[in-house]
Symmetry: C2
């Protein structure tokens, strides 16, 4: 099977979100075809079929997809039938917002440990999750079975944090610090650049003015 591009994975995640709502509204036996999906999500239906084709054969010609089956298969392929243990690095404003974010738990993504270098935060427990000293990262990650990390530390601390995570065998990292981080091969790093999101808006306003 051909490796799907990241953008297809992101879109398939959006389809999954939509299917959850659709099933609630239309019942567990409901079907949907790619043209309906396209209309609801405002995405070209060729694109939708192409995205789904990376993950195998779905649906029947003329009938479309059983929404519940499609949802289950996508969830499984995306790795969302497993529980994932995350650590959150940095408990400033952004880290606190991410910790409170409700969208993670519904996807079986659980923050099980927090790291922050502020001595006043270390040792605190928030909603049953403990704040640890980054100096003890490797031991905590081993003990808690952490698979993934979120970096929400200040920019100047981000490379040091990612190095510590890699040494602790974390292979999947989501970075919010606006800096290009160096990682070894075999580690997946995804950067969220908040300013880049806004550039689609500046372009829209400029080109439609």
């Amino acid at each position: 099977m051909k490796q799907p591009p990241e953008i297809s994975i992101s879109r398939v995640a959006v389809y999954l979100r939509f299917l959850e709502d659709y099933l609630k509204e239309n019942g567990p036996q409901s079907t949907i075809n790619s043209s309906q999906l396209a209309k609801f999500l405002n995405i070209n239906h060729h694109q939708i079929r192409k995205d789904l084709s990376y993950f195998g054969k779905f649906g029947e010609p003329g009938v479309g997809y059983r929404a519940d089956e499609l949802k289950e298969r996508i969830s499984k392929i995306l790795g969302l039938r497993k529980k994932w243990n995350l650590c959150l690095c940095g408990l400033g404003n952004l880290g606190s917002a991410l910790f409170a974010y409700k969208g993670f738990k519904v996807m079986n993504l659980n923050i099980v440990a927090i790291f922050d270098s502020n001595p006043r935060k270390i040792g605190r427990t928030i909603n049953q999750v403990k704040v640890y000293d980054p100096a003890n990262m490797q031991g905590v990650i081993d003990k808690m079975g952490v698979n993934m990390a979120i970096i929400a530390v200040p920019t100047e601390a981000a490379q040091d944090t990612v190095d510590k995570l890699v040494r602790s065998d974390v292979r999947a990292i989501l970075n919010f610090a606006p800096i290009k981080l160096s990682i070894p091969a075999g580690v997946k790093l995804r950067n969220v650049d908040l300013a880049t999101e806004l550039i689609n808006l500046t372009y829209f306003l400029s080109s439609s003015a």
Copy 2:
């Protein structure tokens, strides 16, 4: 000119970021070709040329691009030579993190007003930016010349906030609330879904396990 897809705009924004660093390191006269860009950014060079082609003719065959010219033209096309006035809706943890985020100012994106319904926050001034009652949104937006808005309010308040923004003639909105918002035609809404970002990581770990 064909309208570029959103993903091309996002990637071109990444090229811009890279060019800024490249110019600092290599001097204002430096050139770069798409293969070098591809190698530095780990993106296919056909993709890079395709992305840039939406924005006009760049570079010379065999020579590549003058980095400074490329940067200027991209900046201009993306609307980053203008100053944009943003309002931030919601000053909770996420809103505070976004307000403190350093990546906006360097792109001429300035938060000039904050809205929050908490009476203890209304009237406060943070780094010369005032917190207003959302009830006064239209007047403030007119007075401050706001072009764009960021929604960082709780999910249940997001639709009401977007409705108020639209009535106040804001046409470009970045939404962080994990909910599908209804907007009229002519308004550009971009959703940042933090859980979706993590799904690329769960897929990576599942498919490489």
